[in-house]
C-alpha cells in the first residue's frame, strides 16, 4: 500500500505572541514545528504500512527550512520525503496550494491513499485536503476518527460529526483527513532519528511538477488579504469576591441581570 501524507510546517502556537504596542506578530524565538494534526495522519499511515506493507511518502510545500519537518517525519516512520519549494508558490491560497500539492503527488507515481491532518493550526482552513481530492478526481472523507477496515481497494472509516459519527465506505485511492482521536503518535526511536539524519529529501520545483504557473502563487489565488488587524484583546472584567456562597449568588445575579440565563 503506497500512502502519501501531506504535512505542513507551522509556527509553534504556544509561542505565537502579539507585540502589544505594534499589534503585530512576534516571530523572534518562535519555533516551527510539524502541524500537530498531521502527526496523527503520519502515525496512521505508518500503522497501516506496518499492517499491510508498502511505503509512506511525506509531502510538504514550503521554504527550504521546511525540510526539518520532513526529517522529523522520517524519524517517525516515513520512508521517503518530498519538499515542493519554489518562489512561484509564495502567497498561494488554498486553491493554488491544493493544485500545487496535487501536481506534486501525481508526479510521484502510484498511490493508494492520501492522509493529512483535518486542518493546519496556522491557517485553520481545512480546505487543502478536499482540494487535492477534487484535483486528483478521487473521493474524500474528512475528520476521520477511526479506520475500521482497509482491504481490497476499499476503506471503512468513522467520520466524526457534531452528533457522533458516520460510518463511511470509500474506494481507494482516496483523501482522508484525520482528527486527533484516531491514535496516539509514537515518539521517534533512535533508529528513526538515525534514518532521519541520513535521509535524502527530494526537493521539487514548479518546473519539476510541470505546474501551470498562472495557477500558482498570488496569480493563481482568487482570494487575497485586503487588511490585517489585531482583534481587540479581551479585557478582564469583574472579580467576584466574598465567601463562596456570596460568589455563587453574585454570579447568578449578574448573569440573570445581563439576561444571559
Amino acid at each position: 500500500m503506497n500512502i502519501i501524507v501531506t504535512i505542513k510546517q507551522v509556527p509553534d502556537a504556544a509561542n505565537v505572541r502579539i507585540n502589544p504596542e505594534t499589534k503585530t506578530l512576534v516571530r523572534e524565538g518562535v519555533e516551527s514545528m510539524m502541524n500537530p494534526l498531521d502527526a496523527y495522519a503520519l502515525e496512521e499511515a505508518v500503522r497501516l504500512k506496518e499492517k499491510l506493507g508498502g511505503k509512506v511518502t511525506v509531502v510538504c510545500m514550503g521554504p527550504p527550512m521546511a525540510e526539518a519537518v520532513l526529517r522529523e517525519a522520517i524519524s517517525l516512520g516515513a520512508d521517503e520525503a518530498v519538499l515542493l519549494s519554489d518562489r512561484a508558490v509564495a502567497g498561494s491560497d488554498t486553491l493554488a496550494t491544493s493544485y500545487a500539492l496535487s501536481q506534486t503527488i501525481s508526479k510521484l507515481g502510484g498511490y493508494d491513499l492520501i492522509l493529512g491532518g483535518k486542518q493546519a493550526i496556522d491557517g485553520d482552513t481545512a480546505q487543502v485536503g478536499p482540494g487535492i481530492a477534487v484535483n486528483l478526481d478521487i473521493p474524500q472523507v474528512t475528520c476521520v476518527r477511526k479506520v475500521r477496515e482497509c482491504a481490497d481497494g476499499k476503506m471503512v472509516v468513522e467520520r466524526m460529526t457534531e452528533e457522533g459519527y458516520d460510518v463511511v465506505e470509500v474506494t481507494l485511492p482516496a483523501v482522508v483527513t484525520v482528527v486527533k482521536e484516531i491514535n496516539e503518535p509514537r515518539i521517534a526511536s533512535l533508529k528513526g532519528k538515525m534514518a532521519a539524519k541520513r535521509a535524502q529529501i527530494k526537493v521539487m520545483t514548479a518546473a519539476d511538477i510541470e505546474a501551470d504557473l498562472t495557477r500558482l502563487g498570488l496569480k493563481g489565488s482568487p482570494t487575497n488579504v485586503v487588511e490585517i488587524f489585531s482583534p481587540d484583546a479581551r479585557q478582564g472584567g469583574v472579580k467576584i469576591e466574598g465567601a463562596p456562597e456570596e460568589q455563587a449568588k453574585s454570579l447568578v445575579t449578574a448573569l440573570k441581570e445581563a439576561q444571559l440565563l
Binding site: V226, I228, P231
Partner: protein, 396 residues
C-alpha cells in the same frame, strides 16, 4: 516579487519593520528586507513607509469571466434528518442584511430526502426569498461527492454571486470541493461578513494564527464568492409567518450519485446532551477537575443551565472525558453566549477555541492564570465548593 524595496530611497528607519503584522521585514545593511516566505502581501509596509521606498506590485488572478452576470446570494441549508442546522438560519438572516446593502435575491439551497415536508416553508419564514430544493432518497445523508456534484452543477448553471455555508463538519468538507470544482475562492470559518460599499465585493473577516490576527479577505476576480461561517456569530430571524416565497424543485440527476463513497451508518452517541457547537452556555473543565468522576459535577451544572459540557485538552488527554468535548485548537471552536471555565488555566491553544464567547466566567484557584485575566467574571476559589453552590442558587 510583489513587494519591491527601493534601496536608493530606503533610509533604514525601520518603520515598516515594526508595522509588519507577520514579522516578515527586517533591516539588512540599513535597508528594509522582506522575507518572502513570511510575507502575506498585505501591503501595510508600503502605507507606513515615510520615503515611499516600498511598492506593492499587486499580482492578482485575472478575471476570465463575465463577473456581472453572477447574481443572488445562496445559503446552503444544511439538514440532518430533515432538520435544518441553526447556523443555516443564522446565515439566511445575515444574507438578508447583505441583500439590503446591495439588492440581491436570497436563496436557500437544500439537498434532502423530502422527509420533512415543511422544510422549504421554514426556510422562507426564516429569511429565504426563494428555495432551491433537490429532493431524493439518495440525498438523505451527506456524502461528500454526491452533494458536491449536485451543488456544483446548480452553481455552474445558475451563477450565484455569493454562496454561504456553516463552518460545520459538512460545510467544511463540502464547500472546499465545490470551490475547487468552480475554480473560485473560499474563505473558511468567517466571523464577520459585509459588502464593501465601493466595490460591492463581499469582505470576509476571519481569525488566523490561532485568533491572534484577524484578516479581511476578498475574492475579486472569480465568482461565486464563497465563505463558510462560524455558528453563533449571527442571530437567526424570528420566524415571520407573513413571509412568502417561491420554491423551485430541481430533480436529482442520477449522474451526480457517488459510486466511490457511501455512508453506511449514522451514529448519534451524544445522547440527550446539548451539542457543543449549538449550545448557548458551555460549562468546561480542565486539569483543575482532578479526575473523571468530577465531570459529573459539571454535567449537573450544565443541565441546570441548559448547556453543554466542554473540556480542555489536558482533561481529554488524561482520559477524563471523550475527545468530542474538547474545545481549542485541536478540538472544537465554540462561541456560546456564556462560557464557564472551571479549573482551566487558559493556555493559548484553549483560548483560541473559545475566546470569541460573549461572556467568559472563570472559576480557578489561581487568580493570576490567563483565563482569570480575560474572564468577564472571575471567581477565585475552590471550584468543588463553588459549583454546587451555583447549582443550588440556580435551582432556587
Amino acid at each position: 516579487m510583489p513587494i519591491k524595496i527601493n534601496k536608493e530611497t530606503c533610509v533604514g528607519c525601520g518603520a515598516c519593520v515594526s508595522q509588519c503584522p507577520f514579522g516578515a521585514l527586517s533591516l539588512v545593511d540599513n535597508c528594509a528586507f522582506v522575507e518572502e516566505t513570511k510575507c502575506k502581501f498585505c501591503g501595510k509596509c508600503a502605507t507606513v513607509c515615510p520615503c515611499e521606498a516600498i511598492t506593492v506590485v499587486k499580482e492578482e488572478m485575472e478575471a476570465k469571466d463575465d463577473l456581472g452576470s453572477y447574481k443572488d446570494i445562496w445559503v446552503f441549508a444544511e439538514q440532518k434528518k430533515g432538520q435544518v442546522a441553526g447556523v443555516s438560519f443564522e446565515l439566511l438572516a445575515k444574507a438578508r442584511e447583505l441583500a439590503s446593502q446591495k439588492p440581491n435575491t436570497v436563496w436557500a439551497v437544500v439537498l434532502h430526502d423530502g422527509s420533512n415536508a415543511a422544510i422549504c416553508d421554514e426556510l422562507i419564514k426564516k429569511g429565504a426569498d426563494k428555495v432551491l430544493s433537490v429532493s431524493a432518497p439518495e440525498l438523505k445523508d451527506f456524502d461528500d461527492l454526491t452533494y458536491s456534484n449536485v451543488l456544483y452543477r446548480l452553481a455552474k448553471e445558475r451563477r450565484p454571486e455569493i454562496i454561504l455555508c456553516g463552518a460545520t463538519t459538512i460545510g467544511r468538507a463540502l464547500m472546499p470541493r465545490v470551490a475547487v470544482m468552480l475554480k473560485t475562492g473560499l474563505t473558511a470559518d468567517c466571523t464577520q461578513l459585509h459588502i464593501d460599499p465601493e466595490t460591492g465585493l463581499l469582505i470576509q473577516t476571519r481569525p488566523a494564527f490561532g485568533g491572534n490576527i484577524m484578516a479581511r479577505i476578498r475574492c475579486q476576480n472569480t465568482r461565486p464568492q464563497m465563505a463558510t461561517v462560524r455558528h453563533k456569530v449571527f442571530a437567526e430571524m424570528e420566524p415571520d409567518a407573513s413571509r412568502s416565497g417561491e420554491v423551485e424543485t430541481v430533480p436529482f440527476n442520477k449522474e451526480d450519485l457517488s459510486l466511490r463513497s457511501k455512508v453506511l451508518e449514522v451514529v448519534e452517541n451524544i445522547g440527550e446532551q446539548v451539542k457543543l457547537t449549538d449550545a448557548n452556555i458551555i460549562v468546561s473543565g480542565g486539569r483543575g477537575m482532578k479526575g473523571p468522576e468530577n465531570f459529573a459535577l459539571l454535567k449537573e451544572l450544565a443541565e441546570a443551565l441548559g448547556g453543554a459540557v466542554g473540556a480542555s485538552r489536558a482533561a481529554v488527554d488524561a482520559g477524563w472525558i471523550p475527545y468530542a468535548h474538547q474545545v481549542g485548537q485541536t478540538g472544537k471552536t465554540v462561541c456560546p453566549k456564556v462560557y464557564i471555565a472551571c479549573g482551566i488555566s487558559g493556555q493559548i491553544q484553549h483560548l483560541v477555541g473559545m475566546q470569541s464567547s460573549d461572556v467568559i466566567v472563570a472559576i480557578n484557584k489561581d487568580p493570576e492564570c490567563p483565563m482569570m485575566k480575560i474572564a468577564n467574571y472571575a471567581i477565585c476559589g475552590d471550584l468543588f465548593e463553588i459549583i454546587p453552590l451555583i447549582i443550588k442558587e440556580l435551582k432556587k
